[in-house]
């Protein structure tokens, strides 16, 4: 077999390989993991998100996105766009500043880091002297003002980052010009906020932490006004005309100040504690937005009553008598308002509130009544409930696509119809070559259908299987059900909900037939649901069947979880995929493999105990086969649930917390729970870690044996119409591969269509192949007479594939974790093999047949195997000769969840999770490449850019 490893010397083939294969990581889908900063340019209409790992991502119109990574991998603390420029400045937690530019290159824009800079104080000064706390990019675009912990405000030139020392605003200089006894050096410690005057670029407002606010004249280096609040300052915001500003404070209050030329020290116009009178949490950021009708919008983060709602992540919007406290599912990182950026406009007229929470992006339409949320076209929270599996379907027929979209649109009626407000840049990428669906199964029993055709992974439709079952979750146990007169007026927004009500609901396997619209979904507690797409709401009874995979064997007791209880009677289902039959495996172990044949109307499913075949047309079980080795006690006891017990206990404790939170609305002071649990968890983690360190790193060398645990675990199921018995007659067959290296083949007799309901489907075992190396079988495939993989069910009927060749002899490809092996059919004699583990020490984790087209000629394409190994490498192996074509490192081998989550498409692309919330998309093909390609043009700068100020969003925010 070694000869297959030698690099090919055929120059023609080598050239062809270059035309076929190419590895690219193209785009990250989903929501950035651990976001830490937010910025927005009203000028470019682009939003920037920084993360704790030093990534910076820019988003505009759907399809417009850029990504950059700080070399240091430090947390991004602040992001500021330079006014009227394609540039932005980031502040990292190592106090370094970075200047990034969007530059056009080769017809598309690219994000590049231009300069980096760290403010250095005089020798011997403490680090706090230069610790940047506030950044103000001046509208002149020439300088940055950097407020520091020491109270000094440094001025640096752009883009060189040269410090203009003579222009530094020291606390001493400020104090000299304030004739006030109650101000001392300490009043000028720590600059919290720097805000440029909206009309006069020579004036900036300086807010110090201890509530001293100074309006500073940059030309004459003097204080024009100063204002002294009574509470620690959090942030400042100018009114559009510059006559007033608003400050927000640590005690949950905000204050309006009038800036008039006659008095030098102003008393506050108005001081409000919006959620008083009891002590409140800080208001960390505030906006004051003027409108035509005179009523301003006051929008602020935080300020909730400390004792009863201190744990809420809220942003409140007050507009006249309307007031809503949007209650987010995770910590608010930052927010901004999209408002009129036309400098000539008299009012702000805000249109949307954009909130970056730790786990999702929420956009609220402020123009429509009721302030509905806007459905984001990107940055979807893939992990609103943890992803448990995924399934990709390429090239969806238009009809099915439209029906799924139509079902999804009925679920989205509560969303605003406002067009996506962040619409900068132009997407110049070619239209996606085809319609692709990515289906993700989640822990809460839902399946989400994503449009994975292009750069924006967009949620089309969400399917829930929960309705079929009776769960502990009380439907009334909902945080939304607040009375009319509740105060504060909280409204839950966002979809992130990591708390699964019942882990048994988790989706483990998904199989969608794109031609028929049949969908099979299988879960953690042995449930297999077969569904059909229905365009209307319907109420019906779900048929129920049990499949006893142990076949009445005596003396075995399942110690794992119980099966889910089902609802009796008819159940109402919304339009979309509606289950019509439930097959319950017994014991209710997790379903480990699933296959659906929509033409034969059969569904096959396997667990660690065996597999079964169900006729979903007649709703009758055809057969079950126990694969369990009788001495395999572990599989019987359901150790999978035991492994998960830590996770489960964590989940339960979280659920407890949530419940207690719900009830603590009335009885206060249950907040200690969370920290206790966290403490306990931390302790537990530490103990587990220590245990790991103590255990010697030692591996047992032993051949696999029939007595190993989980040999009966069914890893793969495959339907094929092939020559199983003799070479003259082909028949439908079902193939199953187990963890112990056994392949079972069953002959099926499916009655012809006209008698389909009258005669039963029959099955009999035709073959049992025991691979002597006993490695888990991860893939089974039949190649037709032309050595082409058999088409999918109904593919030929829809004229989308040539009929398989039934003249030449068929071949069986069995892929185990260790090797690839081709057998002849029907004799099953070994013909060819490629050893992987024995030679390279890596094992097959995922394998798929992929079609690769040549980038040079349209008429050439070939089928190969795309293989992901446990080392995170991707290998392409030719069919049918099993020659290694090329190898690419893709995923770090330590990234076990990334490798486990990987899914290949039929055209040489793939996805894997780089965090719980993000899919990395990669491509192995030269032809099918989906990657962002976009252009950001500088909008025309208005001549009077000194007045053009309203747009500059200075999100000077401490974290």
């Amino acid at each position: 077999m070694r000869r297959f490893l030698r690099p090919g010397h055929d120059p023609v083939r080598e050239r062809l390989k270059r035309d076929l294969f190419q590895f690219n990581k193209t785009v990250e889908h989903g929501f950035p993991h651990q976001p830490s900063a937010l910025g927005y340019s009203p000028f470019l209409r682009l939003m920037a998100i920084g993360t704790r790992s030093g990534a910076i991502k820019l988003y505009g119109a759907p399809g417009v996105e850029f990504m950059g990574l700080h070399e240091e991998n430090n947390t991004v603390m602040q992001i500021h766009f330079i006014p009227d420029q394609c540039q932005l400045v980031t502040l990292l937690d190592d106090n370094s500043l970075h200047l990034w530019s969007l530059k056009q290159h080769g017809g598309a824009s690219e994000l590049r880091e231009e300069h980096r800079f760290t403010l250095k104080g005089p020798p011997g000064s403490p680090p706090s002297a230069t610790q940047v706390t506030a950044v103000l990019p001046h509208s002149s675009r020439e300088v940055l003002y950097l407020g520091t912990e020491s109270g000094n405000i440094f001025v640096v030139e752009l883009p060189s980052f040269r410090v203009l020392e003579d222009r530094t605003i020291t606390p001493e200089a400020v104090l000299q010009r304030i004739p006030e006894d109650n101000c001392n050096r300490r009043s000028c410690e720590l600059v919290e906020a720097l805000r440029e005057h909206p009309k006069n670029p020579d004036q900036i407002l300086i807010g110090y932490s201890r509530a001293l606010i100074v309006l500073w004249d940059l030309q004459n280096n003097k204080a024009i006004h100063h204002f002294l609040g009574s509470q620690q300052l959090e942030n400042l915001y100018w009114q559009r005309d510059g006559s007033k500003f608003i400050s927000c404070h640590y005690d949950g209050s905000y204050t309006q100040w009038l800036v008039s030329s006659d008095n030098r020290q102003s008393e506050p116009l108005e001081n409000t504690v919006p959620y008083g009178p009891f002590p409140c949490k800080a208001i960390s950021k505030i906006y004051w937005q003027t409108t035509k009708n005179g009523l301003p919008y006051i929008i602020f983060q935080g300020g909730m009553p400390r004792a009863s709602y201190g744990d809420r992540h809220s942003i409140s919007v007050i507009h006249g008598s309307q007031q809503t406290a949007f209650d987010f599912t995770s910590r608010v990182i930052d927010f901004f308002i999209i408002f009129s950026s036309d400098p000539a406009a008299e009012f702000d007229d805000p249109s949307a509130l954009v909130v970056l929470a730790e786990e999702e992006l929420v956009v609220i339409d402020l123009k429509s009544a009721g302030w509905p949320a806007v459905h984001p076209p990107y940055l979807a929270s893939l992990h609103c409930s943890a992803i448990t599996c995924s399934h990709h379907v390429s090239n969806i027929p238009l009809k099915l696509w439209e029906r799924i979209i139509s079902a999804g649109s009925k679920q989205n009626i509560h969303y605003s119809s406002m067009p996506w407000p962040i619409d900068g840049g132009t997407n110049i990428a070619p239209d996606p070559p085809q319609r692709d669906l990515l289906l993700t199964g989640h822990e809460d029993g839902t399946v989400r259908f994503w449009d994975a055709s292009g750069v924006c992974l967009h949620l089309l439709y969400k399917l829930s299987t929960v309705r079929v079952f009776l769960t502990d979750a009380d439907p009334n146990d909902n945080m939304n059900t607040l009375g009319e007169d509740e105060w504060p007026p909280l409204r839950k927004v966002g979809t992130f909900d990591p708390y699964s009500d019942d882990p048994r609901l988790g989706i483990q396997k998904i199989y969608l037939c794109k031609y028929s619209g049949y969908l099979a979904v299988a879960g953690t507690a042995g449930q297999v649901l077969v569904m059909e797409l229905n365009d209307e709401d319907a109420e019906h009874v779900v048929d129920h069947a049990e499949a006893d995979l142990l076949q009445d064997q005596e003396g075995y007791r399942w110690k794992g979880h119980e099966k889910l209880k089902t609802r009796d009677g008819p159940v109402r289902f919304e339009a979309g995929f509606q289950p019509f039959v439930l097959v319950q495996c017994q014991p209710p172990a997790v379903v480990t493999s699933l296959a659906l044949h929509s033409e034969w109307k059969l569904v096959a499913f396997g667990t660690s105990h065996g597999f079964g075949l169900f006729d979903h047309q007649q709703k009758r079980l055809v057969f079950v086969k126990c694969t369990l080795h009788p001495s395999d006690q572990l599989a019987l006891e359901g150790p999978l649930s035991r492994v998960k017990s830590l996770k489960k206990s964590l989940r339960q404790s979280f659920r407890r917390i949530r419940r207690s939170r719900v009830s603590s609305r009335k009885r206060r002071g249950a907040g200690g729970n969370a920290s206790e649990v966290q403490e306990a968890n931390a302790k537990f983690d530490q103990e587990a870690l220590q245990e790991m360190e103590l255990a010697p790193v030692q591996r047992k060398i032993e051949a696999r044996s029939a007595e190993d645990s989980f040999t009966g675990f069914v890893r793969t199921l495959y339907f094929a119409d092939t020559f199983l018995r003799d070479s003259s007659r082909h028949c439908p067959s079902l193939w199953a591969g187990t963890n112990g290296g056994t392949v079972y083949a069953f002959c099926l007799r499916v009655p012809p269509a006209e008698r389909r309901m009258d005669e039963p489907v029959r099955a009999e075992q035709a073959k049992e192949i025991q691979l002597m190396h006993r490695a888990p079988v991860v893939g089974i495939l039949v190649l037709d007479g032309r050595s082409t993989p058999l088409p999918e069910p109904l593919e030929v009927a829809h004229d989308l594939s040539k009929s398989p060749d039934m003249q030449g002899s068929h071949q069986l490809l069995v892929v185990s974790e260790e090797q690839f092996k081709v057998f002849t059919l029907p004799k099953v004699s070994s013909k060819l093999k490629l050893k992987l583990t024995a030679l390279e020490g890596c094992r097959v984790r995922k394998v798929t047949v992929a079609n690769f087209g040549s980038c040079k000629t349209d008429d050439y394409s070939e089928n190969d195997l795309a293989v992901l190994t446990n080392l995170g490498d991707i290998q392409i192996i030719s069919l049918p000769f099993l020659k290694l074509q090329i190898r690419y490192p893709c995923i770090r081998k330590e990234d076990v969840s990334g490798i486990a989550s990987c899914v290949f498409t039929k055209y040489g692309q793939g996805f894997y999770l780089i965090s719980p919330s993000e899919f990395e998309r990669f491509s192995l093909s030269t032809k099918w490449l989906v990657e962002p390609r976009c252009i950001v043009d500088m909008p025309e700068v208005t001549s009077n850019n000194h007045v053009h100020k309203s747009g500059t969003e200075n999100a000077a925010r401490k974290s």
């Binding site: 079980l621 086969k625 051949a703 002597m772 260790e818 020490g841």
Partner: protein
């Protein structure tokens, strides 16, 4: 036939008496009075020395501290080259140890009828490997014994052009008592693993090496650098003392290129180990399918293709023609059947008939 028996008895250390008496005593104790045997003993260095006259009998007794390990062999099996001074002039693939846990002997390959032995291990490629290395082949065919060893991460010191360098290595960390690895006596704890079936392990992780060994477990060839270099095979050009002390000249031989090593594997040697997958044909006769009931009756129909009655009626078609391997596979199959408590049927070993590649149970 080749089983070992242990007898423990005491002798007066200072008055051992005559060899003749001792010989008779031995025969009596072991109830092998009618056999011609050769008696040997293990000296302080662990070398096997003969006892055949009064002098060396006396020497043996006096050197025993406190036990004298006496080995008894049938006269016709004795390989005199095994004994002490006439040290091991083995050639390539010379060594086959018996599947015999207690008598650790290293007789020549032509010592007995091949049928009587099942090879469990061999040292191969002695001529091409540096003498500090040992390439051991473990045969697991038809052997119920576990391979029985563990490996771990560690560091080894290599001589490189830049001087001594510490590099990560893979070492044998534990031997399972009674396992194949231990019983061969060719592998020991702290031996460094250099290659697995001709593939260098350098740069591979512990898990990768584990997977490679398991993937090759049916015919595992591992090249080790023994921690104890005293028992190395000494080529004929070298002189050695009876204790087998060897010079440790590790330096120059370390980076043997894989290609060079591989040339010396005969292709058939690599491929002859090809495991034969067992294919059970389930459909040679029409099977009775239980009458299928409708779902509402809630009685599920099933086909139990694995029930023994079916299995026994089926023919076993073995893909590989090698008799020995077929044997092994059948043994495995039988053992898996036997351990299956669902099937109470006991299969007598004699009930197997071999007929070419098709074996009928």
């Amino acid at each position: 036939q080749f089983g070992a028996e242990f007898r423990r008895f005491s002798l007066d250390r200072y008055k051992p008496g005559k060899f003749e008496d001792f010989y008779k005593l031995i025969l009596h104790i072991h109830h092998i009075a009618n056999l011609e045997v050769m008696i040997g003993y293990a000296d302080v260095h662990g070398d096997l020395l003969p006892i055949n006259n009064d002098d060396n009998f006396f020497k043996a007794v006096s050197s025993a501290h406190p036990l004298l390990r006496v080995f008894i062999q049938r006269q016709d099996e004795v390989d005199y080259s095994n004994f002490g001074t006439n040290t091991l002039s083995r050639k390539k693939k010379a060594l086959v140890t018996l599947r015999n846990d207690n008598l650790r002997r290293r007789p020549h390959i032509n010592i007995s009828m091949p049928h009587d032995f099942r090879p469990v291990s061999s040292i191969i490629d002695v001529d091409i490997l540096p003498e500090t290395h040992r390439r051991v082949r473990l045969y697991r065919h038809g052997c119920e014994k576990p391979l029985g060893f563990y490996i771990r991460d560690g560091t080894s010191v290599r001589v490189t052009p830049h001087g001594l360098e510490k590099v990560p290595g893979i070492f044998i960390s534990r031997m399972v008592p009674g396992g194949l690895a231990e019983s061969t006596g060719l592998l020991a704890v702290n031996d460094e693993v250099l290659e697995v079936n001709g593939i260098e392990v350098a740069g591979k992780t512990l898990d990768q090496v584990t997977d490679m060994m398991i993937a090759n477990s049916h015919n595992l060839i591992i090249t080790v650098k023994p921690a104890n270099q005293r028992n190395n095979i000494i080529r004929s050009s070298r002189m050695s003392g009876s204790s087998g002390q060897s010079t440790d000249s590790t330096a120059s031989h370390h980076s043997l290129s894989t290609s060079h090593v591989l040339q010396n594997f005969h292709p058939d040697e690599m491929e002859s180990d090809e495991e034969a997958d067992i294919v059970i044909e389930g459909g040679l006769e029409p099977q009775h399918i239980p009458k299928l009931h409708s779902l509402t009756s809630n009685s599920l129909s099933r086909i139990n293709g694995s029930s023994l009655s079916h299995r026994l009626q089926r023919d076993l078609v073995l893909n590989n023609n090698s008799g020995r391997e077929s044997n092994g596979n059948i043994h495995k199959l039988l053992s898996s059947l036997k351990t299956d408590p669902r099937h109470s049927l006991v299969i007598p070993r004699g009930g197997i008939e071999e007929d070419g590649t098709v074996i009928t149970l």
